[in-house]
Subunit: 233 residues, 2 copies
Amino acid sequence: MKMHIHKFAFESHKIIDSLTDAEKSDFFDKTEQLSFKKGKLLFYEGGIPSGVFLLKRGKTKIFKTGIDGKDQIFYIYSEGDLMGYHALLCQEPYEDSCETLEPCEFLFIGKQAFTELLQTIPHLKDTLIQNMSHEFGVMVNIIAVLAQKPVRERLALFLLILQAKYTKQTLEDARITLPREDLANIIGTARENLGRLLKEFREDGLVFIDKKAILIRDASRLQHLADANYAYR
Amino acid sequence: MKMHIHKFAFESHKIIDSLTDAEKSDFFDKTEQLSFKKGKLLFYEGGIPSGVFLLKRGKTKIFKTGIDGKDQIFYIYSEGDLMGYHALLCQEPYEDSCETLEPCEFLFIGKQAFTELLQTIPHLKDTLIQNMSHEFGVMVNIIAVLAQKPVRERLALFLLILQAKYTKQTLEDARITLPREDLANIIGTARENLGRLLKEFREDGLVFIDKKAILIRDASRLQHLADANYAYR
DNA sequence: CGAATAATTGATCTTAGTCAACTGCTGTGG
DNA sequence: CCACAGCAGTTGACTAAGATCAATTATTCG
């Protein structure tokens, strides 16, 4: 089972990209610009959606919290992504929470305005459909990886996925700067375990580590590790 | 974290239910009736979608196979469900496979016909959007459960979910008749482990077991187990 | 009926989770 | 600017959940 990182990428930026200039200006007329500090909640599990969020700068995580306090992170959103539309579109409470990982700037579009846009821009629905059907495949892959691959392989894979996300914007800086706890909650393991594996990866020359930051050193060997099925060591 | 089984249910039957009688007849005019024996593939990972499937009778599983041969099952479809539309709608190869668990009857709607219906029945898109945004929440919950809950709790939860599915059609028979291997691949564990836990559940009076068939005996205690977070035993 | 398949059971081993102690970094106020 | 509090990360020892292996017993189906 070859792991292609693009099969783990949402494409919600396409929802906005698909608009013409006129439609975009129509869209942006209805938005409200907001800035949040690091560690602030955009929405939370159980809450009632009041609109959607277009991330202009920064990164956020969507996650679910267990009673024992351990989060499971499903996705890291970055610049250009549209967030929080699922619960709004099916008119149900949020199943997940969204929190800023860095200082963020984003546009908020109220429920009413978003619903209107869906009516006035017919092809927006098509893009939404295309986007969500793609996301289904991504979720399927995430489930398969979390349920079937051992932690070492998951770490290799998610490092590659995250690197792509962190590289996208600032080419000179492909370092992954997530706190260890968040990274652990993405790959679904304990902090301590993650630390041990990172150390091992560093000793094996797979990554550079500088304080919090992780930089991939040998992507092809990581890729190979991510593809491995009980053939390692 | 209270586990509500309806938060683990797709609602793809609504896609067809939302049609008026006239629209339905338009829809059914474009379908082809098919019967498959048990264990036959409707579509498979990597394949190119050529249409969608409406399940009239029987049950199917969607799953992904790892190199080591161990499957991860994401969902069991039953009567009324529309299957295989995600890959078609995003114009990508299937990320998952679909196989009959019993003899099945279903209607096949070709890609061309389905696309036409999407144009001629405008509100069909709305239902699709509503449905897929709902499914996103379901997938989020599945990920959280598989990643965070121990096998015993997962088994309790999935038994309740499956019972609801098996009860829906034939009220007199709420028995879950999946092969052990499939059940193991749903809750994400090994056959042997599943067997031991089922034995334990039977001895504790939670379920009746007759050959392959599992019948829930004490749903409220199972529910309690599913909700537990390391408070069991 | 008997071969093939599925389920059960027991024993052992491994991964990864937990607990606990320690180190080091960061930022704030004196 | 330094000290210290608080938090993030590291390390090691221990434990337990669950996987794997191997052998046996039921069940199903041709």
